[in-house]
Structure formats: C-alpha cells, structure tokens
Symmetry: C2
Subunit: 470 residues, 2 copies
C-alpha cells in the first residue's frame, strides 16, 4: 500500500478523496481518472472492507450456487484500480470529515494508525448498512446478513457445516425472496417470515398475493403479518428457531433480509444535509447541497422520485454506478446530472419474475394523486407459441390526465424486463392512452400481437375515460 504517493503533492494538481470503495465511489474515481491524468488530479480512495467494486446484488446467486465463486462478483480488484493510478487504501476507515478544514481523518483498521488527508474535492460513497433487528439472539451463530462478500462467505460456511436443512428468512423484500430461492436451490426447507400482509411490499398487496401463491407453489412456506420477536438458541449457543408473537419456526440457519439504511453517520457528524430517509441530500449533479466541492452517491444518498416529486432512498447497484459516473465527470470539471429515478426494480424467485416501476397505490395517495387501476392477465409470447407464460400486469394512471403513474408485473419468463417499457414511458410523462399506440417489438416468439403492457394500458385508458366525468 503506497501512502507516500498521497503525500507527494505537486504544487498545482488537485486531490480528490473518495470515501467508500464500492460501486459509487470507485465508478466516480475511475471516471475522474478517465478525464484527468495523474498529473492533473490525484485520487485517494478509502475502503474499510476487504473488497472493492463488488456486486452485492450477486450474493444470493453465489450463495445459491448459480455463481461458482466469490471472485466473479468483483468487477474490479484493488490492484486493478491501483494500476489505473488510483491510490486505493484498503481496510482504512474514514472516521471524520472536517469540512471546514478540507480534510478527512483515516484509520488503518489493522494497525490502528490514524492520519489526516486533505482534499480539494470529496466524494462520499459510504453506502448503506443492513437493518439488524435489536432482539435477543440476533448475533447468534447461524444468523446471517448478506450485504458484504464476507457476509456471503460466512453464510456459505454455515450452510456447508450445518447438517440441518431448515432455513428461515426474515423479510420478504428483494433480498428475502432472492435468498429464499438461493436456499431452495441448496436443498433447504425454507420459511419466509414477513411483517407485511403479503411478500414484496414494494408491490401493492394484490400483486404481492400472486408472489405469495407462487412462492408456496415453489415449496416455500410464507408466514405473513408476523413480527420476529426473538431468535432462540440451543445449548450450543447456535440458532435453533425464530420466534414471532404467535409461533416458533425451527431453524438451522437464519438469513436476515430486512433491508438497509443509508450509512450517513460521518456525514451527519460533519453537519452535511440529511433527508427524511436518513440519506444525504444532493443536487442533480450529485453535489451535496450547499457544498461546492463535495459530492455523494450510491446507497448513502436520497434521490428524486420523478413520479411523486419527492426524495426517496433506493439502494441499488445500477443507480450507484450511474451516480459514480456523474460524480466522476463533475469532479473532473465536466458536466453530468442524475435527473432522478422512477423506482424500477426487477427480481425473481426461481422462475417467478417480479417487477415494478413508479408508484404503488399508497405512494400515489401519499403524493396527493388520484388514480385509476387496471389489472390484466396476458402471455409473454403469442398464445399458440411454445412456452408462452402467463403474466399479470397492474397499471396505475392519474385520474383525469391519464398520466401513467406505475406498473407492477408478476409472471414467468419474459415478464420482468417488460417493466422497462413502463419505466421509459414514466420518464417521458406519457399517458396510458399514448402508450396504447406504442410501437413495440412483435413476433410470435416474443409477444402476443398486443403486448401485455399495451393490454394493461388499453384497460387503464378505458378506466380513465370512464372516470373523467367525475
């Protein structure tokens, strides 16, 4: 690890300091390096973990065995970043940001040594931390989170060692359902314990119900409306069951997939602006509000939801990469923006595909929007074509204007990525009536003559017209 390089500051070149060596931070560093030579811009990046630029979203597929080894999930290693003249310091935690002084205090985790590093420009990409329930037994052996590669390895080690075959997943969001698939693939009996009334609370409950039924069809036991109160351990100290208010679910292994929160402890201490969802607030160029030379991106920021007009927190690698690209461009003196999100997400449990974009019913109400809904069932291919699979599409449109507000899709192969049609239409502010005329790819192996999204749009347009007189 060459720290000397960092201190060898020439008179004119600027120093960019990056806190966090994952998607947003290292994308920012790489993009800045593409645009500025080491003579113009020195780049120092701090990462407290063992890995850089890894795909957290890939962990369920590594645990489940679809991805054979950990290293496949690392997009770029520390060595590769260093070869591109980024002074990347691993296992080094930033413990303070001194905004007034334009410097950060770093601590080498292994040696405990601390030092200040000054910056001309700062990027905060501290990511998110998993929500760990504050309950007895949450730290017992056999209870695992799945946020980092170390977490994934620890879980795989447990799965390899454990003889029992009963797994309980706490949480039924994306991580929860993906981990349910991973554990099914490894031959476990899987129970998913969920606080909500249906799995996938990022969908409306009527669509979540379809996920529920499909998961049970896959042999997964789904327990809804259940709050985990404690994790019970055996005489050996290891997990033996998960307890809710009503029942106990025996478990040889427990996976916590409850979600994440922005990691903004440092930013908060430094007095930087934090939003209602605990994320850093930035402008559209990803500059921290009120700070000309500080940017933030990835899982630690809030982003503008283009449909509701409000800030949201969404932890997703695809956004983190885009933020990094925008930050790197701006930090290197260029110009780029991240205009916001429409809230697109796609996931799967075995062969069940789940997708959503835009607002759910409750989001629309919260935003003060009145809406109509339309739900249709159609197929991924022409009905007569082999492997044509059913899918359900739900669409929300604004009352009177007919503007598309959101789409949710649950189905089999070919269902999930159809959400992109709606994501682009939402971004463009299209009405459902306009969507009916969209010129989408049609051939029998790819779509019915009316694409399912268009069938939903047609029904939604009808509902808008029926309601306009009210």
């Amino acid at each position: 690890m060459s720290m000397s390089a960092a201190r060898d500051v020439s008179g004119t070149r600027e120093r960019l300091v990056v806190i966090g060596g994952d998607a947003a931070g290292m994308s920012a560093a790489s993009q800045a390096r593409r645009l500025k030579s080491p003579e113009e811009l020195e780049i120092v990046a701090f990462e407290r973990g063992h890995f850089t630029s890894f795909s957290a979203c890939g962990i369920p597929y590594w645990v489940g065995g679809d991805v054979p080894d950990r290293d496949r999930l690392i997009a770029r290693t520390a060595e590769e970043h260093r070869a591109r003249d980024i002074d990347l310091r691993m296992r080094t935690e930033v413990i303070r940001i001194d905004v007034a002084g334009g410097r950060v205090r770093a601590r080498d985790i292994d040696s405990g040594a601390e030092y200040w590093t000054s910056y001309d420009k700062l990027v905060i990409a501290t990511g998110a931390r998993p929500i760990r329930p504050d309950m007895p037994g949450a730290d017992a052996p056999g209870v695992h989170g799945v946020q980092t590669l170390d977490d994934g390895q620890a879980l795989i080690d447990t799965l390899t060692r454990t003889r029992g075959r009963r797994a309980v997943v706490v949480g039924a969001g994306y991580i929860g359902v993906e981990m349910a698939e991973a554990l099914i693939n490894r031959g476990y009996e899987v129970t998913v314990v969920n606080r909500g009334s249906e799995p996938m609370s990022t969908l409306d409950a009527d669509m979540g119900r379809l996920v529920h039924e499909a998961m049970e069809g896959l042999g997964i036991t789904m327990v809804n409306d259940a709050e985990v109160t404690k994790i019970l351990t055996g005489d050996d100290g290891r997990v033996r069951a998960v307890a809710t208010q009503d029942a106990e679910y025996p478990a040889d292994v427990v996976v916590l997939g409850i979600g994440v929160r922005p990691e903004t402890t440092l930013a908060r201490q430094a007095g930087l602006p934090i939003g209602d969802h605990d994320g850093l607030l930035t402008d559209l160029a990803m500059r921290v509000r009120g700070h000309e030379n500080i940017w933030a991106g990835g899982d630690c920021v809030e982003v503008l939801d283009l449909v509701s007009g409000r800030e949201r927190h969404i932890a997703l690698g695809t956004h983190a990469n885009k933020h990094g690209q925008v930050i790197g461009t701006n930090a290197a003196g260029g110009y780029a923006t991240f205009p916001g999100v429409v809230g697109t997400a796609v996931s799967k449990v075995c062969d069940l595909e789940i997708a959503r974009t835009g607002l759910r019913e409750k989001d629309a109400r919260r935003a003060g929007l009145q809406y109509v809904t339309a739900t249709i069932e159609s197929t991924s291919r022409a009905g007569y074509y082999p492997d044509s699979a059913l899918m359900t599409v739900k669409m929300l449109a604004e009352r009177r204007t007919g503007r598309l507000l959101g789409v949710q899709i649950v189905g089999r192969e070919g269902a999930g990525k159809r959400v992109d049609i709606a994501a682009v239409a939402l971004t463009a502010g299209m009405t459902v009536e306009q969507m009916v005329s969209l010129d989408l790819g049609y051939a029998p192996p790819f779509s019915p003559v009316w694409d399912p999204v268009l069938v939903a749009a047609r029904k939604a347009a009808k509902a808008v017209h029926a309601g306009t007189s009210q």
Copy 2:
C-alpha cells in the same frame, strides 16, 4: 351463411361494410360491435379466403413444428364472429367499390353470384399480396409462398411428401430467416439466396453481417448479392434447383419470402388516394384522406414514420390490430387515433434474436438527417450470471441535438425485446444523453448493472459531444 340479414335494413340503423376478414378488418368489426348494438349498427364483412383473423406471423412456427396445428393460428373463427352479430361472408370477394354510390359489388367465389351491398361506412382492409417473382418456374410444384394458411398447408404437404432434404429460401428478410429456421427444425439443408449484401436488409449491413455469421453457425448456407433468375424444374415438372446469375442451387423445395406489397387494386380503381409505396393514404384517425365515411387499415395502408416524418409501408399484425381498434372506435362514433410508427421489429433464427427500431443509416441520410453511430457489445445478464449471452447494440443519434434516431440489436436470449426501450424513447423524442439516466430494471439474472441499451446510449452521447463542435 345468412345474407338475408344484410338486406333486412331497418329505417334508422346504419350499415358498416368491411372488406377483408383478417386482423385489421375483423378488429374493426369487433370493436364497432362492442360500441354499437346490432339495432344501431349492422356490420357486414367480406372475406375472400377460407379463414378469418389468423396469425400470418405464426405460419413459420407452424411449418417448423413449434405450433402443432393450423387452428391454433386462428384467433377467432368465422362462427365466433357471427355469434357476435357480424354478418361475415366467407369466400366472397369484393370486386368493386362504388364510392359515389356508397356501395360495393361482391362475388361469391364458389357460385360466381354477384350483388351490390350499400354502405353508410366502409372499412378497407384488403391486406397485402406477396411479391411473386415474374420468372420461369415460379409457379412450379414445390415452390411455395407463406402468406396464407392455405399457403402454409400446401408447404407442409410438400414437405411431408418430398423425400429430398434440400431447401432453398429466396429472400433474407423476416419471412426468409424465419422460414430458414422452420426448415432447419424440419431437418432440411437450408440455403438462403439473398439479393442484398447481407441478410436482414432492415438492418444496416454491419449488423446484417452478424446475422449472416450466426446463420452460418447454425448450418444455414447464406448466398448474398445473388439475384434469382429462374427456377429450374425436372422432368416431372417439379422444382429441382434455383438459378442465379452465377450459380444453381439444387432444391427439393423452394420458399419465396421476398416480401409483400399493399393490396390496393380495388382502392386504386375506386380513385382513392394511394401513396408512393402503393398503400392507401389515411389521416391519423385511419380515415381515407378526403373520404369522411371510409377508413382503411392493416397491410394495405401506409403509416406515418414518426422518426423520419414520412409515410412507410409496414405489414405487421400488431399494427393491423391497432388500426382495426382505432377504425372500429371511429366508425362507431367514438374517437381514437393511430399516431404512427417508429419502425420496431423483432425476429429470431433459432436462438439468434434480431431487433430494430427507428432509422437505419440510409434512412437517416434519405431524411436529410446527419447522425453519429455507436456500436457496443454487452451481455443480457450480469456477466457472472449463468447463461449470460452476448449481444451487439448499434445506436444512431442525430448530430448536434443528440436525439435518438434508431437502434439495432443482434444477440441471443434477452436481446430482442430490449428494443422496446428504444422504441419508447424514440416515441418520446429522447436524446441519447437522456437515455443514459433511464431507470431500467436491474438484477443480475436480468441485466448487467448498465443495461446494454444504456451502454450504447453512453457511447452515442460521447460521439454526439465529440461532434458538436463541427
């Protein structure tokens, strides 16, 4: 067949006459019937063939064996239409439209009987006819078109009877490549003879080249730059080879997939407006220009290309169905429009997926547009996820403005329907720079962290910026 019903005209109800009982015509009739009762609107439809509402696009999959029987391709039978109070007259050809008199002359093909039927409103949905080369041998036994179900059945009969296993497909557009797949699936040695420099002239030649290579990889012999001069027959009168200017290709069966032209003979005789591509010209409500009570739709019309601003002819079931819906609504006194197309098409040859939307390079030049191009290679899923497949995406953007002009995609599973992202973006008039920020569905089984379409947009945006100073 109840003709009496048609003559039993009450004093006030109107009569809608539909010429052509396939997608556009019967969609129009069905939609009009949904909106108007038989007491308000009488609907008479003439179809000269044996079938209604069938999927011509499905014929290659029926011939190839993916679709087990013909009846699966019939979306709605004549009996089903009649049960919904549509007076459908099969095997009845309209041989004249008398616009001034508001009537059409029909001929019962089997009996030869002719009669006039008056109309208050008329729908022309006469479809397209295949281009049959005017050359010796084109009508020989063993030479087949694939436009109608009768054509499909005749080809299947030939394939069943013929002992030889050599097939020549003339034409390398959608029909040609899909028929190549069908014949491969039936165990034939397939040669495709193509006039252009590469297959799929709906793509630029550099992308067609990828299709060429993939087809050869599938064991299909691809002959480009070859004009078929005659079809040679044996002593038994059956086809034995296809001759070009340079060579002869032995053939036990020949499939003609050269394309289609609007069937507008009747419309032309009636003095209705015909465009540069031989199609009827309509307004955006699908009303024949200058004729308040005549509509036309489906393969016999020209449509507005929203990207170039010009009329085009595109024979595609998905458009025909939309036209029918719009016409039926308007003919029943409602309001709907078909705003135009962006030229989206998707197809496959075995596991190779081919898609395009918007303008090719030559279309852009013809429209007076200057453009930049970007071509990238990426994968359908995260690189580390199983079955992640390569795809090539080519993007055209307008010089200076950066407006998206077109996208072409060639790849394997997951490539084809990605064109919908671009189709919606084209419709919305987005720039490639705006597309870079699109919030598309991301999870490792569905997409790399940067969707291939976004990677192409990023590269195209760079090319636009590099070129803006010029």
